[in-house]
Symmetry: C3
Subunit: 275 residues, 3 copies
């Protein structure tokens, strides 16, 4: 693994995974799998991991796989943005921090908007924050029945990202989307499936087996047809999605500089430190 | 209460409500509540009430509440447009009546489109017509299991308003939206919830208690974050909603002058008078 | 029946239907019914039938019926595009075939986008391919519980049409739409109803009776109000639908000339010939 990156690419199926790096990428059976691998931190996303996921998606878009998967290692799928990201203030101060954070967020989400092949989320456990909001940009979302979906933005003085301000109302109607995005209601996997955010829910005991059997079957379909069909669907709203992403990132930059947000994040980290 | 208005504002929690006016506004626990208060007429909306709801929403948008609620007093949530509005013909005749009616409708719906804070419908009983169609513009819709949702536009020779021609197909798909909006199918609360129009349904016996406990909890979240999150969601389609509202109001103005509509309304009022 | 057309129009209710032509049109009780009548071929659509359905819709848009119905005769609703259409190569070769096929497809779908009255699908059995994708353009979709909904585009090296790349994600969310349109998942009638593609499902034993009782009741509502309400709904996205249709048809034209598609269709027809 490079000293500048937490990414570990293992193109060959038999290559052993180190397990120590925060992002693991494997490619097998026509499927490239990007695994969040910070199980002791519930796969919370560090700034480095945002960069590395961008690189991993760019590589996967060009490799010979038919399908790309994002999943998590351990009990959690992803606990969202690592809030310690907020405490690492650069020389430019909090304004520069907010600016660069908004640029990174926008670039990160743009990669999901533009990803050219079928993109599948294998949600192996609870999902929080940005790992939930970007699900609206995936082509398939399979979830274990242990998964939950939680976006406590208001609680942290923040606002929706990942194009969720547009995709969630479209998927579940505004009145269910708002309960999640504005009031922070946590959904069970079954609820998320009923509301269309999740494609299908599987019992945790057979989740991995059932999902991978199905994905391997899908990966054998004509790859160009799948890629082009996915793009035909995405192109109906790609321009809109980029505009939404830009606006959401701008609003969040301002939120991050607000007293409401700073106080809420400090309060959250203090409580956590006391545990 | 002013002689020119049916609105009664009671900013202080302990102020007694007169109960005689058609609209009652209270503010408590960070929640401003606008109550339709014409229970003997099933909370049918008079022309005056449209004007007063506009004023109440404008006041609520500027007060220090975090959340605004619309609800009804008595068995009904709202039986829709009071059809006796049609019989009060001004000196300008039916054409002037239709013109001013369309302007009022458009202004009324624009207020819901532009409302800047989380807006919650507490649907305490059956809802009809415009009280149903504007639900697509609310951020949360809680309903008792006694509620029903009915838009008998075609039966009255009319056409959809409240942006429902856009929001309903978006929420429930075109084939379920059309059955409601074009063929006048009445939904139960459970059906409306399954189809995404309603956020959650509660047993009538615990409805008021459960809903207000939840709303009071929500009202304590950071108010700016909630307001901004709501606006980020709304801004993705605000321009579109205004255009839809203008078009729906124009079409309705023509409908109101059609023989189909006049005959249907006369027939409805005659039957009612005989009861 | 004309020698140039498979269409058979029987405006009078008591006129006997020949049963030999591939499309039968009847008009009764304010309802014009277009019936796919190739039951031995599971109502697969020949090139001639595409042309004839266009003519039938144009005629129905101008007749005095209030509602128009599309249904199938026999066990199937429609098995989609008759793949033998691909084997009838004109003097201009496969390029000319693909070009004219894309023009016909676009004209066919445009008729459904522009149809001015309520359009109802009475899905009497399994539906495949384009008979499924255009359901997103109907105003009501009633289905027997024997019906299934299947779009195996990728399996045949093809891509979505009928505006489904836009309507399906809007109706059921992107993650359920993609499983159907990209991965070819077949839905039961109940699943299609839960996901909003189907308005209501009926037991097969009472399907015809229940559906026609309901449609006859609907056909007695004020016809102008219904027509105008349907158009108000459709006009919110008519321009978008035409653009989507043009793009989908262009992409399909290229797909039809691809090796993936040619090989997949030849393979399908070979397997079928061996049965």
């Amino acid at each position: 693994a490079s000293s500048e990156s937490s990414i570990q690419v293992t193109p060959a199926a038999d290559r052993k995974q180190p397990g120590s790096d925060a992002l693991v990428v494997t490619s097998q059976d026509g499927i490239t799998t990007i695994t969040l691998n910070r199980p002791d931190k519930k796969n919370a996303l560090t700034t480095q991991m945002y960069h590395d996921i961008i690189l991993a998606l760019e590589a996967a878009s060009k490799d010979d796989s038919a399908i790309t998967v994002l999943t998590g290692n351990g009990d959690y799928y992803c606990s969202g943005n690592d809030l310690t990201n907020f405490t690492d203030i650069p020389p430019g101060g909090v304004e520069e921090k907010a600016r660069s954070g908004a640029v990174l967020l926008r670039d990160f989400v743009d990669c999901f908007i533009d990803f050219p092949k079928p993109l599948v989320a294998v949600v192996n456990g609870p999902a929080v924050g940005i790992s939930v909001t970007i699900l609206g940009l995936f082509d398939i979302v399979y979830a274990t029945d242990r998964a939950t979906f939680h976006t406590p933005f208001s609680h942290l003085g923040q606002s929706p990202e990942g194009c969720s301000s547009y995709t969630f109302p479209k998927i579940m109607g505004p009145s269910k989307a708002t309960e999640m995005l504005v009031f922070g209601k946590k959904l069970t996997a079954r609820e998320a499936c009923t509301q269309g955010l999740v494609t299908e829910v599987f019992p945790d005991s057979t989740f991995q087996k059932e999902v991978w059997v199905r994905l391997k079957a899908y990966s054998k379909l004509p790859p160009n047809a799948m890629r082009i069909s996915k793009q035909v669907i995405r192109n109906t709203e790609k321009e809109k999605l980029h505009a939404i992403n830009a606006e959401e990132s701008n609003v969040l930059r301002e939120r991050w500089l607000s007293d409401e947000c700073m106080n809420a994040v400090v309060s959250f980290l203090s409580k956590k430190a006391k545990l």
